[in-house]
Each structure stands twice: as structure tokens, then as C-alpha cells.
């Protein structure tokens, strides 16, 4: 297997979110990973942004649809007369 192409800090920074989101192709991901292994400042940035995204997820997922709404929708569907099927 060939070693990943070398990329600089700017390229790594541009792809950082895609890397964290698991959206890169395997080759591109290997390039970013190789850079992060070698570059302490970029690795630090990765840790910071990773913490930020985890924090966002933790703070925003608590809301659930209220019970009265669930009930209404259930009834609405149950008694819907405008059948299209």
C-alpha cells in the first residue's frame, strides 16, 4: 500500500469537519490522519472541534414531541378520511 500523499495544515484544516463527520473517502481520510499524527497544532485543533461537536449533540437532542401532539397525530391518522391509497 502506498503512503498517503502529504498535505499541509491548511488542507487538513479545510477537511477537518468532513474528517470528524466521517464524510471523506478512505484515501482522503488517510491523508488527514497522517497529517494529524505528525502535526501537534492540528491535532490540538481536532480535539477542540471534536469537543465542540460532541457538546452540540449533547445540548440539543433532549427535546421530544409533546404527548398532546403525539396523540393528535395518532388520531388524525387513525380517522383520516381523505384516503389516497
Amino acid at each position: 500500500m502506498n503512503a498517503p500523499r502529504k498535505i499541509d495544515c491548511q488542507e487538513a484544516a479545510e477537511r477537518l469537519y468532513e474528517y470528524l463527520d466521517g464524510e471523506l473517502t478512505p484515501d482522503s481520510e488517510a491523508e488527514v490522519r497522517a497529517h494529524l499524527d505528525d502535526c501537534a497544532p492540528c491535532f490540538k485543533l481536532l480535539g477542540f472541534e471534536d469537543a465542540y461537536l460532541s457538546f452540540l449533540r449533547a445540548r440539543t437532542r433532549a427535546h421530544q414531541a409533546p404527548e398532546h401532539l403525539k396523540k393528535k397525530i395518532f388520531e388524525q391518522v387513525l380517522f383520516d378520511q381523505d384516503s389516497a391509497s
Binding site: Y17, E49, A51, A84
Partner: protein, 188 residues
């Protein structure tokens, strides 16, 4: 044998109703208040039920529902309310907050002191196209391709909107943390 209407209801209950919380969370961020989010979700689910025959079983029901939600919001709700952008996210400098705090708080511990409501308020103050992209990604965990499908833009646009939305939000939260004294500004 069950009538087609019963099959439809069964399939809808099995596949679509479990996603009600996700639809509601996105509706709340799009509409901005609970009463409107309720109406928006009801309308979305009724439309989805009535056009259930257009949904191909086994495909991405979440993206399908969120697409209906978004169209309903744009066509019927957006005109009624919702202020315009409160920040210009056109000129976002990449990783500005990290550069400010990398000595004092490189692990971003100050984030932990910011409560849920403040985070949601900050999200709500983003311009709509950035807000919806960020909510679909960071709240509902959709992939870039799914977000592109729901919002009707190319994946490249999703990427750049998401980058700018996350950075703009981070800056707002940092400014708030400074104001509250959760972190001190570094003198340079």
C-alpha cells in the same frame, strides 16, 4: 385480508411515527416557537400519510419526512414570521475561537458551562439556510448526502454552509461565555 387503508396505516405507524421526535425538533428550530412547530408537524405528518403511496418502502423515510416538513414550512409558514439573519456569516474566519483559546482552554471546557437553552437560542439566531443545515447535521445526524436531498442543494454547498454555520455558532457561544465570565479573553 386487511384493506389497503389498514396496510397503509400499519406501515405509517411502523416507519414514520417513530420519527416524530426528530420531525418535531427540526420543526421547532425552523418555526421558532412551540405552537407553530405543533401545527407544522401535524400538517407534515398528515401530508406524509396522505402521500404514503409515493414513499418507497425501505428507502430513507427520515429524509423523506424532513423534506415534506421543509417544503411545508417554506410554502406556508415562513412568510408569517421569523426575522432575517442577525449575523453575517459571509465573512467567517476559520477556527478563530480555537486560536483565541488554544493556550487557556485547548479542550474547550468552557462549552460545558453553557446550558441547553442558550445553545438553542444561539442556533435560532443563525440565518435560516445555515440554521437548517446545522440542525440536520448536528442535531439529527443526517449525512451530507441526506442534507443535500432534504435542502435541495449540492453536497458542496452543504459542506460550506455547515462549516460556516458551525463556526458562526461557535463564535456566538464563545462571545456569550466571555460575557458570562466562563472564560477570560486572552490579552495579546
Amino acid at each position: 385480508m386487511a384493506a389497503p387503508a389498514d396496510n397503509r396505516r400499519e406501515a405509517f405507524e411502523r416507519e414514520a411515527l417513530p420519527l416524530l421526535d426528530a420531525v418535531y425538533r427540526v420543526a421547532l428550530r425552523l418555526a421558532g416557537d412551540e405552537a407553530q412547530a405543533d401545527d407544522l408537524v401535524q400538517e407534515t405528518m398528515l401530508k406524509a400519510y396522505r402521500s404514503w403511496h409515493q414513499y418507497k418502502s425501505g428507502t430513507n423515510v427520515r429524509a423523506w419526512l424532513l423534506t415534506i416538513l421543509r417544503h411545508t414550512f417554506i410554502n406556508e409558514y415562513r412568510k408569517k414570521k421569523r426575522a432575517g439573519p442577525t449575523v453575517d456569516v459571509g465573512e467567517i474566519e476559520g477556527y478563530h475561537v480555537f486560536h483565541e483559546v488554544q493556550e487557556a482552554d485547548p479542550e474547550g471546557n468552557f462549552f460545558d458551562q453553557i446550558v441547553d437553552d442558550e445553545v438553542l437560542r444561539a442556533i435560532d439566531s443563525l440565518p435560516e439556510e445555515f440554521r437548517e443545515t446545522l440542525v440536520l447535521s448536528d442535531v439529527e445526524q443526517l449525512t451530507y448526502a441526506e442534507i443535500a436531498e432534504v435542502t435541495g442543494v449540492p453536497v458542496g454547498t452543504v459542506k460550506s454552509r455547515l462549516f460556516r454555520a458551525r463556526q458562526a455558532l461557535q463564535q456566538k457561544l464563545y462571545d456569550y461565555a466571555l460575557e458570562m465570565g466562563y472564560i477570560k479573553r486572552v490579552e495579546r
